[in-house]
Amino acid sequence: MSHLHPAQRESLRAMTPARRLELGMQMIASARALQAAAIRAQHSDWTPEQVSAEVRRRWLYARS
């Protein structure tokens, strides 16, 4: 039940577990930054604190 592209599989295999973990954590940080940007675009009048609170709320109740 492979869902990885062969090239993707080779790239991932070439990495150490620490590197995959690093990229995973970066992906989470990027996802949160992107979400904050989307919220800012949707609510241009919101303060940075309101944007942060909304990101926090979405992650707390997200299904992973």
Binding site: M1, S2, H3, L4, R9, L12, R13, P17, A18, R20, L21, E22, L23, G24, M25, M27, I28, A29, A31, R32, A33, A36, P48, V51, S52, V55, R56, R57, R58, W59, L60, A62, S64
Partner: protein, 182 residues
């Protein structure tokens, strides 16, 4: 916005305590398989009632939601499947702490933890076989396909002792789920 790595947020205090723990679940599947996002960190922890105060101190109320010490003591007294959550207020990241069961498989996993250094911190991960067996049980209980996808990627990326997994899958009653992973 504080955007600390969720794995460090929850594992660093355990390192400070010198606690015996192992990271399992989605974060372990990232280390062993496909890179993806997740909003929680699952850890298996060796925990005694006397550790309740130390845990509560390491996850202070100003920064974290942590259950009251009394709840931690009650959970630690369970023979099987003790569990509690810790939530980081500023980010909404959540950790699920599963208290280590007194069984041979969990003992084996704890003895065979893998050390991964991440941002200068040495983190303890369960062996991939244990992570897979855990995900098979979660799939049986909740039916979420994400577990099968995680398992598939771990099998593709990391060397896994499939015979070991098969043996324990039979004992744990997840043979059908394991077959689906091919």
């Amino acid at each position: 916005m504080p955007d600390l790595s969720p794995v460090l947020l929850f594992a660093r205090p355990l390192n400070r305590l010198g606690a015996a723990y192992m990271i399992v679940g989605s974060v372990a599947s990232i280390a062993y398989g496909e890179i993806r996002t997740t909003n929680d960190v699952d850890l298996v922890l060796e925990f005694q009632p006397r550790d309740a105060v130390r845990i509560a101190t390491e996850y202070p109320a100003a920064e974290f939601y942590c259950p009251p010490e009394e709840v931690l003591r009650i959970e630690s007294a369970r023979a099987h499947r003790g569990h509690f959550n810790v939530i980081h207020h500023a980010t909404g990241f959540k950790a699920d702490f599963y208290l280590k069961n007194a069984d041979a498989l969990s003992d084996w996993a704890m003895r065979n933890r893998r050390r991964i250094v991440f941002e200068g911190e040495e983190l303890s991960f369960a062996p991939p076989e244990y992570v897979i067996l855990g995900k098979l049980q979660f799939f049986r209980e909740g039916g979420s396909e994400k577990h099968l996808r995680d398992i598939a990627s771990m099998l593709e990326i990391t060397e896994v002792d499939r015979e070991f997994v098969s043996d324990h899958a039979a004992r744990l009653g997840v043979v059908e789920e394991w077959r689906r992973c091919g």
